[in-house]
């Protein structure tokens, strides 16, 4: 049987030691009325050769196109070293590092990750990861409510990804937390400082860049939150932090927490996962932090080493009083990400960010030169922008896809007020030729389409 090493002779010997006549006897405590458990729709086994062929065929079906979709998952170059090292058996097939002395590889790596992520976001402390950006934001919201003690309302701008807002809602809704949406300025596409005089808000979420790719006035928003007794939660794209001011220094006192999706730092698009959520905060909030945290300590000989710490926050110790139910996190992706950040360093990350930014500017120029295409918002953007079309976005996207181009993310369902709008992304992976090809093809669609519309 696949992956079972036993020979018949060994099975006999083992049963003799146990004193059981056969393997079935080992299940004699299971009430027979529960049935045989016979599998009826699991197909017969494929050997590795057969499954290899099948999966190659399927992967080839999933064709590679020129991708301009972002919307929370970004195509970046991932150095070859990243996954070659992350998938080494010692990282790949280890469990959560409960036995610290036999897990120094993973533990030291997480400590290094925490350092990088805290510094990147301008915070003091990072945990070892959460599931993804959306669930990290949900945990940040729960954390804010715990920290604030007096308030359970959260201000949530509509410029936060609608997918993230849905996730947060689904996760926190049973705990009587109210999410109050804030509308955006239709000209700038950013969130104005709220005009709510006072209120019992636990926190304000501040996305940077926001879902439209636009840059929020994070200083003003942070200061407003603090002035109103609320915590400020920065929701950030970590690549952008190569270029943009980190949450820790927003406004007068800096945001209190930062969360986001670590995918841009070394995780492939991979149909949407596995990615990972990061969460960092100021020192004062560390005991409210959900998830694993690694600390540096000393061994019996006084030599430095690493171990999971502050476990009293966690479910396996605190059970119903834990800061979260999270147990397994996204360790391997964090491993990859740590290697990614190490390979890029501050200069590489800044260059990736600026190259992406330069690309979207160039793309914006080319696309907006096309008749029927306009830019939706005036504010500066990072590497995504919203364009509005004089034809249905879904039709245009379909035509582009037929030509091998994934043109963007259709905004109509989430932001009907924007009309035929779509969110377009260009990362550092796009060459001038790629941008040109997109513009040319969109130009064709818009012309033919408007002809067709007549």
């Amino acid at each position: 049987m696949p992956f079972i090493p036993h020979t018949d002779a060994e099975v006999e010997a083992m049963l003799a030691v146990i004193g059981a006549p056969n393997i079935d006897a080992l299940f004699d405590e299971i009430p027979v009325e529960l049935g045989s458990g016979k599998l009826v729709s699991v197909p017969d086994a494929l050997n590795e050769m057969e499954i290899t062929r099948l999966m190659h065929e399927r992967a080839e079906q999933d064709s590679r196109q020129l991708n301009f979709i972002g919307a929370g998952a970004y195509e970046h170059h991932i150095p070859a070293a990243v996954w070659q090292i992350a998938t080494r058996g010692e990282f790949y097939s280890a469990y959560t590092p409960y036995q610290a002395e036999a897990s120094q590889g993973t533990l030291q790596l997480i400590y290094e990750y925490q350092t990088m992520m805290a510094s990147l976001t301008g915070m003091d402390v990072s945990n070892a990861s959460l599931y993804d950006g959306g669930s990290a934001l949900a945990e940040a919201v729960l954390m804010a409510v715990r920290a604030h003690k007096n308030a359970t309302r959260i201000l949530m701008p509509r410029t936060v990804s609608p997918l993230y807002r849905a996730v947060v809602r689904n996760i926190v809704k049973n705990q009587h937390i109210e999410l109050m949406e804030l509308d955006y300025d239709p000209v700038s596409g950013t969130t104005p400082v709220p005009e709510i005089a006072v209120g019992d808000f636990a926190a304000l979420v501040i996305p940077q860049p926001n879902f439209f790719g636009a840059l929020e006035d994070v200083d003003a928003l942070t200061d407003w939150a603090h002035a109103h007794g609320a915590l400020a939660i920065g929701l950030v794209n970590p690549t952008a932090l190569g270029l943009l001011k980190p949450p820790g220094v927003w406004g007068e006192r800096g945001a209190d927490m930062a969360a986001g999706d670590g995918q841009p730092l070394g995780a492939p698009l991979s149909n949407g996962g596995p990615y990972y959520g990061f969460l960092t905060c100021k020192q004062a909030l560390v005991r409210q932090m959900p998830g694993r945290i690694v600390g540096r300590t000393l061994d019996l000989d006084g030599k430095p080493g690493f171990a999971l710490t502050l476990q009293a926050r966690e479910q396996h110790i605190r059970r119903s009083k834990a800061t979260s139910n999270i147990c397994t996190n996204q360790g391997l992706v964090v491993t990859a990400s740590t290697i990614y950040m190490s390979l890029l360093g501050p200069t590489g990350l800044r260059r990736v960010a600026s190259a992406a930014h330069a690309n979207i500017l160039q793309l914006a120029e080319q696309l907006c030169a096309i008749r029927g295409v306009t830019r939706a918002f005036r504010s500066p953007c990072f590497h995504e922008m919203v364009i509005q079309l004089n034809r249905p976005a879904s039709a245009v996207l379909g035509e582009l896809a037929a030509a091998g181009i994934l043109g963007g993310y259709d905004l109509c369902a989430d932001y009907p007020e924007l009309g035929n709008a779509m969110l377009v992304c260009a990362t550092e992976t796009k060459t001038a030729a790629d941008l040109g090809r997109y513009a040319e093809q969109l130009n064709l669609c818009m012309q033919e389409g408007s002809d067709a519309d007549i």
Partner: protein, 482 residues
């Protein structure tokens, strides 16, 4: 040495640098970063060498026997890794049109079907990203079910004291309070206590079966009846599914909802902490509430169902499609096992556990539930040894590392003192188990003849015993330039 200690200002891994772009002078200055983040400034080789060496400081399945109870550390087939990482899968954007993802979606659809069969449930959602999120989805569905019926009085979830910590933590995240019930001396749920606990306030019961004590709950049918009769639903923590795969189905036990840890039973790698995947399966009555996305097949095409298709869904729990790459690995594993192979998993996992139990008993170890069959795992308690020698379960565990074995789970479940929860899994051979017994036996002798030796362990690891108290007291969570 930390990666930061390899860092030198201005050093770069040039091959990873995009060309310097024009300055972003269109961006407002006050929004720009002024400091240089503390990322390493290292060469590509520095980084490769550092992390390659770091990896060697880990125990792992690929290098060591790893009988960590409740964790099902079995062989992670290498084919699952390479096939799940084919460029066609890796490069696809989650929001790319479904026509470009039929290969991936077909695999997900078939995985849903396989998991339905395995669990005996009516429907499965692959969305949850780990066991705990699967629990969350499950309990949220229980709540949605009661709420939909206007049954708002049910504010309590019943959980045995032996349960994994995620169970009570999850119940609370779903807005429930937790009522704990005890386990009896043979490791079964205390039925009287359960009977006393249920009532109109009961939203449901969360049960792990086989339990975290390593035994199959023999009164499972009566438990089911008690809870259902009280109007509650039954949640099955499927983390221990490896023990019953292809032998008996939770659906056939009358459960309403189950989560499965694919990073255990379906052998997706644990990656030093994750990612996992925690699909949930449900009985017919909970079908409408399954979290999205779900994969549907219609008109010859696979597609993802969303809120629009599933208005009663508890919604999405991830911004994208859950841990797709993990799910692919599980699918590949399932196909390589096939029906026959899957039946064998529980059989041989159970054989290995019972063999190890028998051998350790012969070697003089105290078994926590000596009258019971082991499921795929079992508990040794070192209470007597500690009383006799002062050697604790933790000391014992550390000494095992010196012998080249990862330690079993220690101090969980909490109700057995000085416990070692031992799970060999089906992929280990008799020779490996015998080697482990020999090490255990040798340490037992050491504990009696030279307890200080055992208490000082480990001696052969990159570090000696670490000071956890200091770690928590004098928090050092990020590195700073000296």
């Amino acid at each position: 040495m930390l990666i930061f200690e390899h860092s030198v200002p201005e050093r770069m891994a040039y091959a990873q640098m995009p060309a310097e772009a024009l300055e972003a002078d269109d961006l407002p200055v006050h929004l720009l970063r002024r400091d240089k983040p503390l990322l390493p400034e290292a060469s590509e080789m520095d980084v490769v060498r550092h992390y390659t060496r770091l990896s060697q400081k880990n125990f792992s399945i690929d290098t060591h026997f790893y009988p960590l109870g409740s964790c099902t550390m079995k062989y992670n087939p290498r084919a699952c890794n390479s096939l799940a990482m084919l460029p066609g899968f890796l490069n696809r954007h989650p929001f790319a049109p479904v026509q470009t993802g039929q290969g991936y979606l077909a695999s997900m659809y078939e995985l849903q079907e396989i998991l339905c069969d395995v669990t005996g449930m009516a429907g499965v959602s692959l969305a949850p990203m780990a066991g705990a999120q699967g629990e969350f989805a499950g309990v949220a569905m229980i709540r949605a079910y009661h709420d939909a019926r206007g049954d708002h009085a049910r504010r309590e979830i019943i959980i045995p004291t032996a349960a994994h910590g995620t169970n009570p933590a999850t119940a609370v995240m779903c807005g429930y309070s937790v009522r704990e019930i005890p386990t009896d001396a043979t490791g079964n749920v205390d039925l009287a206590a359960l009977q006393a606990a249920v009532g109109p306030q009961t939203a449901g019961l969360m049960l792990t079966n086989p339990s975290t004590l390593g035994v199959f709950e023999q009164q499972i049918q009566r438990i089911q009846k008690i809870v259902h009769d009280a109007g509650g639903l039954l949640y099955y923590d499927g983390a221990n599914l490896n023990a019953i795969l292809g032998r008996v189905k939770p659906g056939d036990m009358g459960f309403d909802v189950i989560h499965i840890n694919l990073h255990k039973t379906f052998s997706t790698p644990h990656g030093g902490g994750g990612p996992g995947a925690g699909p949930v399966g449900v009985s017919t009555r909970l079908l409408p509430y399954l979290p999205i996305p779900l994969v549907a097949y219609c008109d010859g095409n696979y597609r993802l169902l969303t809120e629009a298709d599933r208005p009663h869904s508890i919604g999405r729990l991830s911004a994208n499609n859950g841990n797709a790459g993990v799910l692919l690995r599980a699918y590949i594993y399932a196909r390589m096992l096939g029906a026959e192979g899957m039946h064998r998993v529980a059989e041989f996992a159970t054989l290995n556990a019972n063999y190890l139990l028998a051998k350790l008993r012969q070697a003089g170890f105290d078994i926590a539930f000596p009258t019971r069959r082991a499921s795929h795992e079992f508990i040794v308690t070192l209470k007597h040894l500690k009383d006799e020698t002062g050697v604790t379960a933790m000391d014992f565990a550390k000494r095992l590392l010196d012998y080249g074995y990862h330690a079993p789970t220690t101090y969980f479940p909490m109700l057995v003192p000085e416990c070692l929860l031992i799970e060999p899994t089906e992929t280990e051979s008799m020779a490996t188990l015998d080697g482990f017994v020999a090490a255990m036996t040798a340490i037992l002798a050491e504990a009696r003849s030279n307890p200080e030796l055992v208490k000082g362990a480990p001696y052969t690891q990159p570090v000696r015993r670490l000071d956890d108290v200091k770690a928590a007291r004098e928090l050092d969570l990020v590195w700073r330039h000296k």
